[in-house]
């Protein structure tokens, strides 16, 4: 699954530790999501969407929809 977490975090100038605190997860989890090593649970994805004020699909994508759009 692809995500724009790092970009959104950089835009808002939030550190991984600060985001982790806002989301009530460890900093490693934030990092693992950013590098695509961990897919967040649905509740966590909702929390991330709420923090950035965007819908989930604007932050996460499965890569399939992008491929379909390219076709």
């Amino acid at each position: 699954m692809n995500n724009r977490l790092r970009v959104l975090r950089a835009e808002r100038r939030i550190s991984q530790a600060e985001l982790a605190e806002l989301l009530d997860v460890s900093r490693q989890t934030v990092n693992a999501i950013e590098v695509g090593k961990h897919d967040p649970s649905l509740p966590l994805a909702f929390r991330i969407a709420r923090v950035f004020g965007q819908p989930i699909e604007a932050i996460f994508s499965d890569g399939l929809s992008e491929a379909q759009a390219a076709e």
């Binding site: 997860v25 460890s26 900093r27 490693q28 990092n31 090593k37 961990h38 966590l44």
Partner: protein, 147 residues
Amino acid sequence: MSKDRINLWSWHGLPWSGLRPRDKANENRTSLYAFLWVACLAAIRIASKYAGLPEWTIWPMAAVSLWCGWLFVRAFHRMLREADEMIRNIHLAGLAAGFGAGLICGLTFTILRPAAPGAVLAFFLPMMIVYVTSVILAARQAVKDEE
């Protein structure tokens, strides 16, 4: 960046940072009860073998050991329930690998040597070794991913 040294149970020696205080507390509690339980088992073993206690004393000692074991399982369950989701995944993957390793090695051992005295160890040792190794490797990988 400060690197936290976490406890013996799962992250020992790993430069893991950013763990939530709740996770640290839960892991420390689990470690404490695990230590208590193992110490209790060892004490009972030594007492029953060398102290020359009457045979009936094994029952209250076994009850104490069971109680410590129960505290440990409860603490471990709580740790998993409240854990950060990636840490929970790491532990669950380790438990699954450990269970599989214990089952496979243990059953293979019983086929090779039926009624062998070390059959319990043949289940238990691979289970624990694979579980702990899986958790440590996954945690190390998570640390490595951010370097």
